[in-house]
């Protein structure tokens, strides 16, 4: 019996090539996208769950905030926290993690390494990063010990058999290799190439700055809330006298597996995933598969006229509904099996491109049986979802009617139409989203952000002291094409430093305000093109003030408009006023026009720019943009004179800026890519339906043509119904899209507006695409010789 079903199914498939092609292509596209998205989402949802002790692992969050001001949550904790917590009975293991990009040298191989962490000895006991070589308990037990990832071991040594060898770190110290770890998986927030022992840093366990991550593993008989209680007590004991009323200061354990999607902390080791985007992608994945299944249903029921006779005959020969039902399920199974095989192949081929787009390193993992369970699940779902309705519908035909030649033209029409409307509503929805996201991204990139980030090269300032920097700057400025050179603590487009200002002239003595601040070099404002509303640029004399001995030192501050406004001053009145920022006393030298120093998701906050020559993370070189390559080569040769052992590396500030919107750009790309797939798959379905409608109406078209209808009017006749459906879907999709995009844009403090034009454009796109699809068939029908079509009837 099944052989018979299958035989008919195969022959049907071969006979209707267009129909089969549409079905298989559509379904396989849906399945391929579903597989890719499922892989991605699985990666997102399973972040850091692979650790054997995942449930007991916590990262300590640090919360602080001045009175009446928003609390800052950060993942960075004081280095002094861990030594204290170590003695808590709730803590089984504890490890600080301190990331520090540096240079690694082995022989004449010298490279900049960004994924370089320092960690305490317990690190490999706590986290399940298996070691190929070395003992997890001891690899980080003393100073100047280092563990490499497998890839790095091969990169530097060409082998993993390297325990006992040494690497030169940051051009100074020799570290001994004590272990090699398997490369960390894609789904961990603690990705590393190198892990060196924390003791190598020789840092003091300070409470005055917060630059370390603190991870703990809970003891087995305790809970996170017990730990929380102890942390609260700790703050009371340690900070008792320092904490004033209304000031927030506290430590909170955050579960490690939850960090990626749920952490509210700033400054994590890698940017967290956005759970909302994951929901959206889940919906997209489901929709894609659904739409492909809808194609299948629609095409199958549209063919009812054709299959009707066969059904009638089979029933007359004694088939009952159940038997016919299974026959049609067999056909669906065959088609979805072909689609499945094709879909897996497509997914495999597209996986590298997808990884590139999503910034992931996903693998299909055909080696483990899990994936086959998954694929089998997708296969069964598709088959039953796509196959059940047509099978029920077709097997329910009454034989007499079909055999009498009463063809079921209209049957199932309204359901079919609703399904087409649903498909196109989804398409229109995604067209609108793509357009809006695109225009917001364009807005972000083209909005004047108050500083000129174009053609600014960023070099690392880490290895320069003040004198070196001075002469380096002088030589750079002699290069043609270099306009300004300056330096700053961190990137001007994402400033992090948290400070507090107080002792403001004309304000009560206990008044203070949280503020972001950035230590800079003299020519910073000119280099970045930040304009002043009041005051003047820094002079050499100002710098001399800052370089004086402690007691004579005088600082010069630049506040932005927002800060001045918040203080209740104007640009003019603020200039010249005295203030103190974290022990730095000085005067306000000028007021800057507002500029964006963080993502446009947040409003512009108060910021202070001030010269201080302690440490510069970044050297900024403003170039004219002409002869770029030559200018960069020139800079490199000067760099070599200063730091021959440090590889020259640079990037453009635009990249830093775009990095702020990485997840938005990624969303944009993913959204537009999958929107296109959704639209294409929907169009495939429409193409199939149009083909069958045209075929069904062959006789009508023939008669109309004999009566004198023009080809144009026939095309219009055949296309009209479909266009109506697309218009209805536009009406349905628009409010949903409006709501969704409104919500999304609300996430940005600075955003474009939703225009009716966007919706009209989306509608126009949908109609044009639908029209093109449908007319392909209608034109064919319209141009057919009527004599032929009438004779065949």
């Amino acid at each position: 019996m099944w052989r018979n079903y299958l035989k008919t199914a195969v022959r049907n498939l071969m006979k209707r090539k267009l129909y089969s092609a549409i079905n298989i292509t559509g379904l396989s596209a849906g399945i391929a996208c579903f597989i890719l998205l499922a892989l991605y989402l699985r990666n997102e949802w399973t972040y850091d769950q692979f650790h054997a002790h995942a449930a007991e692992l916590y990262r300590i969050r640090f919360d602080y905030g001045e009175k009446d001001q928003p609390v800052t949550h950060t993942a960075l904790t004081p280095g002094g926290l861990a030594p204290v917590m170590k003695d808590f009975p709730e803590v089984k293991h504890i490890s600080r993690v301190y990331p520090l990009a540096t240079t690694v040298a082995y022989g004449d191989k010298v490279m900049n390494e960004n994924s370089f962490l320092y960690a305490d000895p317990a690190f490999f006991n706590m986290f399940s990063f298996p070691l190929i070589a070395g003992n997890a308990a001891t690899v980080l037990s003393g100073p100047n010990m280092i563990v490499l990832s497998e890839t790095m071991a091969r990169k530097y040594f060409g082998t993993t058999d390297i325990v006992g060898k040494t690497l030169k770190i940051n051009n100074r110290k020799e570290y001994q290799v004590t272990g090699v770890a398997i490369d960390p998986p894609a789904n961990t927030h603690l990705k590393f190439d190198f892990i060196a022992s924390y003791a190598s840093l020789g840092k003091n366990d300070t409470w005055n700055s917060a630059n370390d991550y603190t991870y703990i593993q809970l003891a087995s008989n305790t809970t996170a809330s017990a730990l929380q209680g102890r942390l609260t007590n700790l703050v009371k004991e340690q900070m008792g006298n320092a904490t004033r009323s209304g000031v927030t200061f506290g430590f909170v354990p955050e579960s490690v597996p939850g960090i990626h999607l749920h952490s509210i902390s700033l400054n994590s080791t890698e940017p967290g995933g956005d759970i909302r985007y994951n929901y959206i992608l889940t919906i997209i994945a489901a929709l894609l598969l659904l739409i492909a299944c809808i194609n299948f249903m629609n095409l199958a029921t549209a063919r009812s006229a054709e299959r009707g006779r066969e059904i009638g005959v089979r029933k007359a020969l004694g088939a009952v509904r159940g038997q016919l039902f299974w026959q049609f399920i067999a056909e669906s199974t065959l088609i979805s099996f072909c689609a499945m095989v094709l879909g897996i192949m497509i997914a495999l081929v597209l996986l590298p491109a997808f990884n590139n787009m999503a910034g992931t390193t996903l693998k299909l993992g055909l080696g483990s049986y899990h994936i086959y369970l998954w694929l089998a699940g997708i296969f069964l779902c598709t088959t039953f979802f796509a196959g059940t309705y047509p099978a029920l519908f077709l097997s329910g035909f009454r034989p007499v009617q079909v055999l009498k030649g009463r063809v079921m033209h209209g049957s199932g029409g309204s359901i079919r139409k609703s399904l087409v409307v649903f498909q196109f509503a989804a398409s229109v929805f995604f067209i609108i989203c793509t357009l809006v996201v695109g225009s917001q991204l364009k807005y972000i990139q083209h909005k004047k952000i108050g500083l000129d980030r174009s053609q600014v090269l960023v070099l690392s300032g880490e290895n320069f002291n003040r004198q070196m920097l001075e002469t380096f700057k002088g030589r750079l400025l002699q290069q043609s094409g270099v306009k300004y050179v300056s330096a700053s603590y961190d990137s001007p487009v994402s400033v992090g430093g948290g400070y507090t200002i107080g002792n403001l002239e004309g304000k009560p003595a206990d008044y203070s305000m949280n503020i972001t601040a950035i230590p800079v070099e003299k020519d910073y404002l000119q280099t970045m093109g930040i304009s002043l509303l009041a005051g003047a640029n820094l002079t050499d004399a100002d710098i001399q003030d800052v370089l004086k001995e402690d007691k004579d030192r005088v600082y010069h501050f630049f506040l932005n408009e927002t800060a001045v406004k918040q203080l209740g001053w104007t640009a003019e009145t603020a200039t010249g006023k005295r203030m103190v920022m974290n022990g730095r006393a000085g005067t306000i030298k000028g007021v800057m026009k507002d500029f964006h120093f963080a993502s446009m998701k947040s409003k512009i906050e108060p910021i202070v720019v001030f010269p201080e020559y302690e440490w510069f993370g970044e050297i900024l070189v403003k170039t004219s943009g002409d002869n770029q390559q030559q200018v960069i080569a020139g800079i490199e040769s000067i760099w070599k004179d200063y730091l021959p052992a440090v590889p020259f590396a640079y990037h453009f500030m635009d990249e830093d800026f775009n990095g702020l919107y990485k997840s938005e750009f990624r969303t944009g790309t993913i959204l537009s890519t999958f929107s296109i797939v959704i639209i294409l798959v929907s169009c495939l379905g429409l193409l199939g339906l149009a083909a069958f409608t045209a075929e069904q109406r062959t006789r009508e078209v023939g008669i109309r043509k004999v009566l004198g209808a023009s080809a144009t009017s026939v095309v219009a006749l055949l296309s009209k119904d479909f266009i109506k459906l697309v218009l209805i879907s536009l009406c349905i999709a628009s409010p949903f899209a409006w709501y969704a995009m409104h919500q999304w844009l609300e996430g940005f403090a600075y955003h474009t507006r939703l225009h009716a034009g966007t919706f009209l454009l989306a509608g126009a796109i949908a109609i044009v695409i639908a029209l093109l699809t449908v007319s392909l068939q209608s034109v064919k029908a319209a141009l057919m010789n009527p004599v032929k079509s009438l004779r065949s009837e």
Binding site: N4, V313, R314
Partner: protein, 221 residues
């Protein structure tokens, strides 16, 4: 064998009813060869469909071997349908995707007959109809007469007691029609299969042993 009592078939038109068949009383005995004749739209085909359980009467009783068909449960009706009734259509209605062999085999599949028996029964029928050479051809590779032969072969393979034929020669030219009618006669006489055919042709009607004239839904006396 077959008894129709006061059988009517109607469908609603506006507030009234339009009768296709009205108060049909008919008895067909085992081994008869009955021809139903009448003009187009007189209700011949509907009568045949009711006899073949493809359509249900609106009123009246249908007894098959003394048992009321309308009282039977679904399973029993299906059994009756599969086991006792064979259909032959004017337009042959072979399944295009199946070969001659598979078309003939289909009713046996639905009867859940084991594969080995299916094979021998289909082989018998093919042999008897001299179609062994054509068994792997598809319907569109056969002439109309040959297709109808397959249609008949398919109808008798399940060894029915009654064959219901709806204008079996309507699409054939007279030579082919003659072959088909002789085959029916043979089946009726040698195999004792009861045959009910609908036909327009007086010539075809002469092959049978009884003619029923039907007009406007009534049997003419």
């Amino acid at each position: 064998m077959i008894q129709l009592q006061k059988i009517s078939r109607h469908y609603p038109v506006g507030f009234g009813k339009n009768y296709i068949l009205k108060d049909i009383d008919l008895t067909i005995n085992e081994g008869e060869f009955v021809s139903i004749m009448g003009p187009s739209g007189s209700g011949k085909s509907t009568l045949l469909h009711i006899l073949g359980l493809l359509e249900e009467p609106s009123e009246g009783q249908y007894l098959f071997e003394g048992e009321r068909v309308d009282k039977m449960n679904e399973k029993k009706r299906t059994q009756l349908h599969r086991g006792s009734i064979g259909f032959v259509f004017q337009a042959y209605h072979l399944i295009d995707e199946l070969t001659v062999y598979e078309n003939i085999e289909t009713p046996l599949l639905y009867k859940n007959i084991p594969a080995s028996e299916r094979k021998s029964r289909v082989a018998d029928v093919l042999d008897r109809f001299n179609m062994v050479a054509k068994k792997d051809l598809f319907p569109n590779q056969l002439s109309g007469g040959q297709q109808q032969l397959v249609g008949i072969a398919r109808a008798i393979v399940a060894e029915p007691r009654v064959i219901l034929a709806d204008e079996p020669t309507g699409n054939l030219h007279s030579d082919q029609a003659k072959v088909i009618m002789q085959l029916f006669k043979h089946l009726n006489e040698q195999d004792k299969i009861t045959i009910v055919q609908v036909t327009h042709s007086d010539v075809n009607a002469t092959y049978g042993n009884r003619v029923i004239q039907i007009r406007d839904g009534h049997i003419q006396p």
